[in-house]
């Protein structure tokens, strides 16, 4: 065998296809096959029943642990679902947009009532013939007497 190949094997280095073919031939050699048969011929030791009983006990413990975990997951899953749904509902409720009543701060009903009360108060003060509504932007009435007015007198 070439020293280079041996050194490569000792270093776990990658072999070329030629070297691997050479190694295959070496593995099939009589000396290697004899050792292979000898190492395979040592009798099989067997495990006893005590070992198996111990293993069964440990596996039973593991099985119980797994069952408990599964049960926990069964109860945990709906609880987590419920909590998530509640959180979602809260978020939606909190972030719901408020309805604006318009440029006024007070609600419309209060404005209507206030306008009505004001009109009633004016009516009480001025009498039923006086218009309760005073429009400052309306054209001012002329205050001088005209000839028509004097004629009417």
């Amino acid at each position: 065998m070439e020293r280079e190949l041996l050194e490569k094997m000792l270093k776990d280095a990658q072999l070329s296809p030629e070297e691997e073919a050479q190694l295959d031939a070496l593995l099939a050699s009589k000396a290697q096959q004899t050792v292979s048969l000898m190492s395979a011929s040592a009798p099989q030791e067997e495990l006893d029943l005590d070992w198996r009983r111990d293993l069964n006990l440990q596996l039973a413990k593991e099985s119980e642990k797994r069952r408990r975990r599964n049960r926990f997951m069964w109860t945990l899953r709906p609880a987590v679902g419920l909590a998530l749904a509640s959180a979602m509902a809260m978020v939606i409720w909190v972030r719901q947009p408020t309805v604006e009543a318009g440029p006024y701060k007070a609600p419309l009903e209060q404005k209507v009532i206030a306008a009505h009360e004001e009109a009633t108060a004016l009516s009480d003060l001025q009498g039923a013939t006086v218009a309760s509504y005073h429009n400052p932007s309306a054209p001012k009435q002329r205050e001088e007497w005209t000839e028509v007015d004097l004629g009417a007198l």
């Binding site: 490569k8 290697q32 048969l37 293993l55 596996l59």
Partner: protein, 203 residues
């Protein structure tokens, strides 16, 4: 059913057993233990030497398998998977225990790798029977090599696993599996040669 041999005929039975185990069928898992317990123990026993420790590691292998069988995808065979778990546990343990394997220089290998023969009453190659003394020498020889050589030798020569399976278990290239197998056998040859030379000089 002989799932341990890994033949293609058993593949569907193996997959059915895995499926039952995944569904937490404890009886199916007990069947899996029946099939593999002695083979795994034989491997672990030679990896860690101490019998009690080997029993614990074999037990731990099955417990780990039980815990994770739901995640086993079935791409590799059951035996490859189980041997991988067992091997990893052995390596973890070897890291904790400082052990110095006997290093051979393989000096003689470059001159003559042939010419190794045991032609006496202690070894019958036809029947594969070793006498007690020679068997002990072989066992000691296996025990004295490094973990990386030993694992390949045991998986190939004792467990009859293919190069591909061993590469999968040990996560190394196939070429490295072959190199290590050759070196492991060469190591054992040197141990046996030393023993036989000593025997010859005594007689």
């Amino acid at each position: 059913m002989d799932l341990g041999q890994g033949s293609s005929d058993d593949r569907s039975l193996e997959l059915a057993l895995i499926e039952r185990c995944r569904k937490q069928d404890d009886e199916a898992f007990a069947r899996l233990v029946d099939v593999f317990q002695n083979r795994l123990f034989g491997f672990v026993r030679r990896m860690v030497q101490d019998r009690d420790e080997a029993m614990d590691i074999t037990q731990e292998t099955f417990i780990r398998a039980y815990q994770s069988i739901a995640r086993f995808d079935g791409r590799s065979s059951l035996r490859t998977w189980l041997f991988r778990i067992a091997h990893n546990l052995c390596i973890d343990r070897a890291r904790k225990v400082e052990r110095r394997p006997t290093e051979y220089t393989f000096e003689g290998m470059t001159e003559s790798e042939e010419g190794f023969d045991i032609a006496d009453h202690r070894w019958n190659p036809e029947t594969g029977i070793l006498d007690d003394e020679l068997r002990k020498v072989v066992e000691d020889g296996i025990g004295s090599m490094s973990e990386k050589l030993r694992s390949v030798l045991l998986l190939h020569d004792r467990e009859n696993l293919q190069y591909e399976e061993i590469a999968d278990i040990l996560k190394i290239p196939i070429g490295t599996v072959k190199s290590r197998l050759f070196l492991a056998r060469a190591h054992l040859q040197q141990v046996l040669r030393s023993y036989l030379n000593y025997e010859g000089s005594v007689q």
